[in-house]
């Protein structure tokens, strides 16, 4: 089944590395204005979908598509992924999602689009984008991760309700949504035909090349092994200090993000624990209240139980927001950095081609010199023609390399800008969340206080 493509799992694994990136991004006055206008728009949840946690949508969603781009151009497009529902039975079951697009961009057929997509469709899109853009140095947003455990849970669930309520489903839904909006944010990729088809077409040809034992799957495995080798063997003389600096910055960034991500996941984990313990105490309090003979105390204990149930909800919401707005965003960026490194590799290979071409010219010239020396003038014309051809080839390789470097430079600049916006948003949501939780805590306890006072 294409959901259990173990080989493909390798691709989306986060690779270890270190990066640093310049954060001293000072927006020019014009851009500052723009940022205020377009400060990541919070989308209203589409009303017919009761399953999207309302509060989550309002507060958490980083409106990726409408944040500013390098060309001061904003893509007015927002994509929502919702309504996870189970399709099929037994081992052939899978989860399907509704993908809703709202846009004013002329390149799309309609202002509003709605389609059904399954996870392998998303992976299929990713494969196509990689094939088209990575070699050109464009930063393709990483696809959400596969999960064998998650998929098994879905196949084993007995009802649609049960399937949709699994934590993993919500995590995946959110990840798919961020994924599509990241693509939509990219000035070139938003116009990609495969991307448009994905959002517009009723039916998509089933993505067969994400299956485990398909030809494509095997090829991927081979490429990964190749890739691993080339990382070890290719050494490039970096002449552009900009690239050298950037790579170091990205390494440093990766290091920091890894640790931060771990620390936030730990925080989320403990707060979830707190929610569970709070619920347990709420039960204890209710039991005590039931058994209590003193009327006022009995009522107070019952109210205490209610208060703690409300507190449990606060903790759950807080940990969810911390998870989706912070931890998952940090994880996304780790995956993006992994893709950045792939692009650097592409550039290295391009450089290699150029160097090889230069070497070929060199060799031919040596041969020419030898011929001159040994007086073999008859073949010299041929050699010289060869040399001319090889020199043209060198020019092509060099200009390819230069073009690639220029594209990558732009992509990285765009990445840095996006990161500044996203991380500021992340901090803002985190802080707002802290504040909101405390405000709710005050309300809960102020509600309970009179009951406590009334005991005696």
């Amino acid at each position: 089944d294409d959901e259990e493509d173990v080989a493909a799992e390798e691709q989306s694994k986060i690779e270890p590395a270190e990066t640093e990136i310049s954060l001293d991004y000072d927006p020019e006055p014009a851009q500052v204005e723009k940022e205020e206008e377009v400060a990541p728009k919070i989308e209203e949840p589409v009303k017919e979908l009761p399953k999207i946690p309302e509060r989550l949508k309002e507060d958490v969603e980083i409106d990726l598509a409408s944040s500013s781009q390098t060309e001061d151009k904003v893509n007015d497009i927002t994509i929502l992924v919702s309504d996870p529902h189970k399709v099929g039975d037994g081992m052939n079951a899978y989860m399907s999602y509704v993908v809703r697009t709202k846009t004013s961009m002329a390149i799309f057929k309609h202002a509003e689009l709605t389609v059904d997509r399954r996870f392998s469709d998303f992976l299929g899109l990713h494969e196509k984008l990689l094939a088209k853009h990575r070699h050109a140095g464009r930063l393709v947003p990483p696809a959400p991760e596969k999960s064998i455990v998650g998929m098994t849970l879905i196949k084993m669930s007995k009802t649609d309700e049960e399937a949709s309520s699994i934590d993993f489903v919500e995590k995946r839904r959110a990840a798919l949504e961020r994924y599509l909006n990241r693509i939509a944010r990219h000035s070139l990729m938003v116009q990609d035909q495969d991307f448009k088809d994905f959002l517009e077409q009723e039916e998509l040809p089933q993505a067969t090349n994400t299956r485990a034992l398909s030809g494509a799957g095997v090829m991927r495995l081979v490429k990964n092994v190749e890739g691993a080798f080339s990382k070890i063997t290719i050494k490039m003389t970096e002449e552009d200090s900009w690239f050298e600096e950037k790579q170091q910055q990205i390494e440093s960034l990766e290091q920091q993000l890894k640790r931060l991500h771990g620390a936030f996941e730990s925080l989320v984990h403990h707060r979830k624990e707190l929610a569970v313990n709070t619920a347990l105490f709420a039960k204890s309090s209710a039991t005590l209240g039931n058994a209590e003979e003193h009327t006022a105390l009995s009522r107070a204990l019952a109210q205490l139980s209610d208060a703690f149930e409300k507190i449990e909800t606060v903790h759950q919401e807080q940990s969810n927001t911390d998870y989706y707005a912070v931890a998952e965003t940090l994880a996304d960026y780790l995956r993006i950095i992994a893709e950045l490194k792939e692009i650097f590799l592409v550039r290295v290979k391009s450089w290699q081609n150029w160097q090889n071409a230069e070497q070929n010219v060199q060799r031919k010239k040596e041969t020419e010199a030898k011929m001159q020396a040994s007086g073999r003038t008859d073949k010299i014309a041929v050699i010289q023609a060869d040399i001319k051809e090889l020199e043209t080839r060198v020019q092509t390789c060099k200009s390819d390399f230069d073009e690639l470097s220029a594209t990558i430079k732009k992509e990285i600049q765009s990445f840095e800008q996006d990161r500044v916006v996203d991380f500021r948003q992340l901090v803002l949501i985190f802080l707002k969340n802290l504040m909101k939780s405390q405000e709710q805590n005050i309300k809960n306890w102020e509600g309970f206080m009179p009951e406590a006072r009334a005991i005696a």
Partner: protein
């Protein structure tokens, strides 16, 4: 002790006690017990160990005229071993930390203080010389280890079964016994689950501190940290406060409702012991009655005397138990009320402070 209206005058404790602090002296934890006599200014400080408290309770329980008294439960022994420290660290920090949580005897001090004040405010215990010697005399009383041999434990178990099957003729007492059994279970559960909340709050506090340290470190180690210095400042402030908030909430929770639940879970058990003794007396009386009925003429008088004696004793127990139970219940309700109001109070206050800090950080970031 009752006035003209038959209402018992509120007993005034002759002293008030504070347990100021505790310090480890070798393997032993020493508590500094300060007491002030009513209407006097000068305070007196003595040093006592946990074993002294054990001995004190034992003496009080075995002295004259403590029929039907519900004794406050003995406070927990302070932990001194490395293993205990590791266990506590695991609960409060989670996982395998490199630094152990320090010895904080604050909780023990408060518990010991409460224990002594409860004894002092009991009408029949407050004036006892044993108690007064305990809080006033420099020299601790000779520490004789209170032995509870295996024999004692076994007979207790057998007694328990016999006692719990005994149906009390007095409806009220029967009802009280049944509620008490239920209450012991519920209180233990409540105290334990509340403690879990407190522990988890400590864990969260540590998690925030982790993040804070990371951010600090990254600002130093890396030329370009993840968050710009503009962002880091309000973020750090908020995270630091979040850590403090969780820690303070945990401490206050434990001090208010936590300690009350823990105390009354133990107190409920004491109540059980008191009720138990009365039932044992009733069982003894039943035995004496049967003896009397079966007694041969020459033993009849003796049997009758025995029976009468037990009847009296039971009568005394019952008549003393009633007001004791009322007093205990009243105290319990007031204590729970205090615990609940203190908890609500501190939560509101701490959250208000936190909202102010977080709001400031928020607006700082929003203006950027």
């Amino acid at each position: 002790m009752a006035d003209a209206n038959g209402i018992a005058k509120q007993f005034q404790p002759p002293f008030t006690v504070k347990v100021l602090s505790a310090a480890k002296n070798g393997e032993v934890v020493e508590f500094f017990v300060e007491s002030t006599k009513i209407a006097e200014e000068r305070a007196n400080v003595v040093i006592r160990q946990h074993e002294d408290f054990v001995w004190l309770l034992h003496c009080l329980q075995t002295m004259e005229n403590v029929t039907s008294v519900i004794f406050p439960p003995l406070p927990d022994r302070p932990m001194t071993s490395l293993q205990a420290a590791e266990k506590k660290t695991k609960k409060q920090v989670g996982g395998k930390p490199s630094i152990l949580v320090g010895d904080d005897y604050g909780v023990n001090c408060k518990a010991n203080e409460k224990f002594l004040n409860l004894l002092l405010s009991h009408p029949r215990l407050g004036n006892s010389s044993v108690l007064q010697k305990f809080i006033r005399e420099k020299e601790a009383p000779p520490r004789v280890k209170v032995r509870r041999g295996i024999f004692g434990v076994l007979t207790k178990v057998v007694d328990d079964i016999r006692v719990s099957n005994f149906k009390d003729s007095n409806q009220d007492f029967q009802q009280t016994r049944v509620s008490n059994e239920e209450n012991i279970k519920d209180m233990k559960q409540a105290a334990s689950s509340f403690q879990k909340i407190v522990d988890t709050q400590h864990r969260i506090s540590n998690a925030y501190t982790e993040i804070y340290s990371l951010l600090q470190q990254m600002a130093v180690d890396h030329a370009t940290p993840v968050f710009s210095s503009q962002l880091t400042s309000p973020l750090n402030e908020a995270i630091q406060h979040a850590s403090e908030l969780s820690n303070v909430s945990a401490t206050n929770s434990q001090r208010s409702l936590g300690s009350t639940l823990h105390l009354y879970a133990g107190y409920s058990q004491s109540q059980h012991d008191m009720l138990q003794k009365r039932v044992q007396k009733a069982i003894e009386l039943d035995g004496a009655k049967r003896n009397y009925e079966k007694a041969k003429p020459q033993k009849k008088t003796q049997a009758e005397n025995d029976m009468r004696k037990l009847e009296n004793e039971l009568e005394v127990m019952t008549s003393l138990a009633k007001p004791e139970l009322e007093r205990f219940n009243r105290q319990r309700i007031l204590a729970l009320q205090a615990g609940l109001t203190q908890l609500a109070d501190s939560e509101i206050k701490n959250s208000r402070d936190a909202v102010a800090v977080f709001a400031k950080s928020c607006s700082c970031v929003q203006q950027m």
